[in-house]
């Protein structure tokens, strides 16, 4: 995505071609290209007149609704450009007025990796049993984890932080927490470049399981979006989640074994309990997919039973989040 394209060159109006004048439509006589702020050229289409619009009158009925409210796919599709703009805004704004700018997208996972390496890799001398260098091990888990934790923390606060939008204008509210996931995906992409660089530096080739990465990505997105919707909607009504979310994120990270291998609990009798946390399997599966041929203990978490429980839990959480969001959506403006 050319989001960081140089603004200064985006001349607003470049007549590129002159077409023969179409009958009675002066708008179409000159094709103009206006460069959108994201650098993409937008081709204006001939202006449709009002009369044309009235041929298909849209009728909007406003009345109190009760219970679960079905998704309005039509509306979501129609305003898809807004989602795109919101994602673009979130990414764009994040590193504004930061001296290091976009570098933070790399520095964040890198610094966290460094901290874990210091604590676990060196102090706890864990690297012997892993099969790969500890930094590689921890980063392979951090990448999907950060996608999830960003959705948890930023997504959870997204509605509250944008109250002014909720009370002043209508648009599909779902887009606000969804946009956060878009930004988190961007970070994941940047982090992946770092990861690839490290793999190359250590001379480790990715395993054949890499082909499953897109599937895993979808699974983690489903999970991230589900929690994002649920927490965002809950935070609007119950501000307690402002304080719960950071604690939840911390706790969840340790339960997902991002920083150390589940080997530690290999002998734990009730380790199947871990499968209930979808992030446990997702993190393990990322590792297995990327480094499976090297890891010494890739078994736990890669188990199809673990994965299927996780997939089921993710889907359930996603559904719950989506439905709770839809149910409470109509009173956001009153409560916010």
């Amino acid at each position: 995505m050319a989001t960081t394209g140089d603004m200064s060159v985006s001349a607003t109006k470049i007549p590129v071609s002159r077409m023969t004048v179409l009958e009675g439509d002066p708008q179409a006589s000159v094709t103009q290209v206006t460069v959108a702020p994201d650098g993409a050229a937008v081709q204006p289409q001939p202006h449709r007149s009002n009369e044309a619009g009235q041929n298909e009158p849209t009728e909007l009925v406003i009345e109190p609704r009760r219970g679960w409210i079905a998704l309005n796919w039509n509306e979501l599709f129609r305003s898809r450009e807004l989602l795109y703009f919101l994602i673009w805004r979130d990414i764009k704004v994040r590193y504004k007025q930061a001296v290091l700018g976009v570098a933070w997208a790399v520095l964040q996972p890198a610094s966290q990796m460094l901290v874990f390496t210091l604590i676990f890799g060196i102090a706890a001398r864990m690297k012997q049993n892993l099969g790969v260098p500890y930094p590689i091990f921890v980063l392979s888990g951090l990448l999907p984890w950060q996608l999830f934790s960003a959705s948890l923390s930023t997504g959870g606060m997204s509605l509250v932080n944008q109250q002014h939008l909720l009370t002043k204008i209508y648009f599909p509210r779902l887009f606000i927490p969804t946009a956060v996931a878009g930004g988190a995906l961007m970070d994941l992409a940047v982090g992946s470049v770092l990861f690839a660089g490290m793999m190359a530096a250590w001379g480790i080739a990715p395993g054949w399981g890499t082909v499953f990465l897109p599937l895993l990505l979808v699974l983690s997105l489903v999970m991230a979006l589900g929690m994002s919707y649920l927490l965002a909607a809950l935070t609007v009504t119950y501000r307690d989640f402002r304080f719960i979310i950071p604690v939840l994120t911390q706790l969840w990270m340790w339960l997902s074994f991002v920083a150390f291998p589940p080997l530690l609990v290999a002998n734990f009798r009730h380790k199947w309990l871990l499968a209930i946390n979808p992030m446990f399997s997702i993190v393990a599966a990322y590792r297995k997919a990327l480094l499976g041929h090297k890891l010494t203990d890739a078994e736990i978490g890669w188990d199809w039973r673990y994965l299927s429980v996780s997939i089921a839990t993710s889907l359930a959480l996603f559904t719950l989040g989506l439905f709770y969001f839809r149910k409470t959506e109509r009173r956001f403006a009153d409560v916010a």
């Binding site: 603004m7 200064s8 985006s10 607003t12 109006k13 103009q32 206006t34 959108a36 702020p37 937008v42 081709q43 204006p44 289409q45 202006h47 009002n50 619009g53 009235q54 009158p57 849209t58 009728e59 909007l60 009925v61 406003i62 009345e63 109190p64 609704r65 305003s79 450009e81 807004l82 703009f85 919101l86 673009w88 805004r89 764009k92 704004v93 504004k96 007025q97 002014h164 939008l165 909720l166 009370t167 002043k168 204008i169 209508y170 648009f171 009504t237 119950y238 501000r239 307690d240 989640f241 719960i244 109509r330 009173r331 403006a333 009153d334 409560v335």
Partner: protein, 421 residues
């Protein structure tokens, strides 16, 4: 053809006693949950329409707007105008009733919703446009017009947080002004920017109207309402009136402002003070007119005011002024003790009576309100808007059977017309 907007018995209740309308805490909910299913059930059974704790911001609102009409909603603060607009823009859901909008809707309840201070002007045009419901293509097509209207071309690539507030508002309004919905819902957005820009905004609104769009318009600026609206609905205490011609609606709105005024003594009327004072200064106003009618004077007739002031022993150089304000909120005449008579006086805690006689009040026949101001050393101390009302009625002063009316001018002045050759 069906009306483009049909509103039937629309109502919105806020539950004052219920927790979730405020910032509920999770603990409350858990506590309520524990308190027993019975209570919860009973609460659930309460029909919001019959809930006694409910505060109805709007109730039984029914009206219709036809294609191409500009409907003004006028009413005092808290009357429920904005709630109606919020329900029609789908920001908040009605508690009861139903509204049908037959056309693409865009609402503008605030200028610059979604503007991000860190983003540049160019970026914000696209973001704000998208939030207001424009497509990328549409924004791109109107980009130049927006920039030109806002007059910010030099600062397009500057973050809007560095803009002056005037520039910010101009840009924000410019984006909104280029929306092309079939129904436009606008709330009090013309009240921003400097006079020149307000004029430009009004002009733009006028264009929107001429293009035949349907507009629902809330404003406290009666001048704008009179200029733009084809119909007016008066909102008061959560109820809406029948639709009426703008003049009548504005008159009704303004007369609401003096509702009860004949009975309320001046001392108890709301007033504004430059610095809070323990006791009101302006405590009495009597208007006597030719013919002895109460608050009614014939055009170009004689009218006298008797103002009573007290509780102002701390003022050493006091003056008093009487303003006549027309139904559009404009002062059309000002009678000031210093300007017209060179009168200034020391304050006193005992009542002071001031007389002001206007031998001829050459105003066009209409309803006016009387505003009192009290100043010390030229600085305003106290002001009572709507201190009283004054109706100027028709009189055949020129013997022609006609005088100018309020849409033709403000004053009834004599002149000589002759034909040369």
């Amino acid at each position: 053809m069906k009306p483009i907007i049909t509103v039937e018995k629309l109502g919105k209740a806020y539950h004052l006693g219920r927790k979730y309308e405020k910032h509920a805490t999770f603990r409350d909910t858990v506590a309520n949950f524990v308190r027993g299913a019975a209570t919860r059930l009973r609460q659930r059974m309460v029909d919001p329409a019959k809930d006694e704790e409910a505060f109805w911001a709007v109730r039984d609102a029914s009206f219709e707007v036809n294609r191409g009409e500009v409907m003004g909603l006028v009413g005092r603060n808290g009357a429920g105008k904005s709630t109606v607009l919020k329900m029609l823009s789908r920001i908040t859901e009605p508690t009861e009733g139903r509204a049908v909008l037959r056309g693409r809707v865009a609402s503008l309840l605030e200028v610059g919703t979604g503007f991000h201070p860190e983003l540049t002007g160019r970026e914000n045009i696209f973001l704000n446009g998208a939030i207001l419901g424009m497509s990328r293509v549409e924004i791109a097509r109107k980009f130049d017009a927006i920039v030109e209207f806002a007059d910010v071309s030099k600062f397009l690539d500057t973050p809007v947080k560095r803009y002056s507030s005037g520039m910010y508002v101009r840009l924000a309004f410019a984006v909104a002004a280029h929306l092309e919905p079939e129904i436009l819902i606008v709330d009090e957005v013309l009240a921003v920017g400097d006079a020149a820009f307000q004029k430009k905004c009004l002009g733009k609104m006028g264009d929107v109207v001429r293009e035949g769009r349907t507009v629902l318009f809330v404003s406290h600026n009666m001048d704008a309402v009179a200029q733009l609206c084809t119909h007016v609905i008066v909102v008061s205490g959560g109820r809406v009136s029948e639709r009426m011609p703008p003049d009548e609606g504005i008159k009704q709105y303004l007369s609401m402002s003096y509702q009860g005024s004949p009975d309320v003594p001046l001392a108890q009327k709301p007033r504004s003070q430059k610095e809070p004072r323990p006791k009101p200064i302006l405590t009495g106003l009597r208007i006597t007119t030719e013919g002895g009618h109460d608050r009614v004077v014939e055009t170009c007739g004689r009218v006298s005011f008797e103002v009573e002031a007290r509780n102002c022993a701390d003022l050493d150089d006091a003056t008093c002024g009487i303003a006549i304000v027309n139904s559009r909120g404009q002062r059309v005449a000002f009678f000031h003790s210093l300007y017209q008579s060179g009168l200034r006086f020391p304050g006193s805690d005992e009542p002071i009576t001031l007389h002001c006689t206007v031998p001829s009040l050459p105003l066009v026949p209409a309803s006016y309100s009387v505003e009192l101001v009290f100043a010390n050393r030229g600085m305003l101390v106290e002001k009572v808007e709507n201190a009283d009302r004054l109706d100027v009625v028709f009189k055949d002063v020129f013997g022609t059977g006609r005088v100018p009316n309020p849409s033709q001018g403000y004053l009834v002045l004599p002149c000589e017309w002759t034909r040369g050759s």
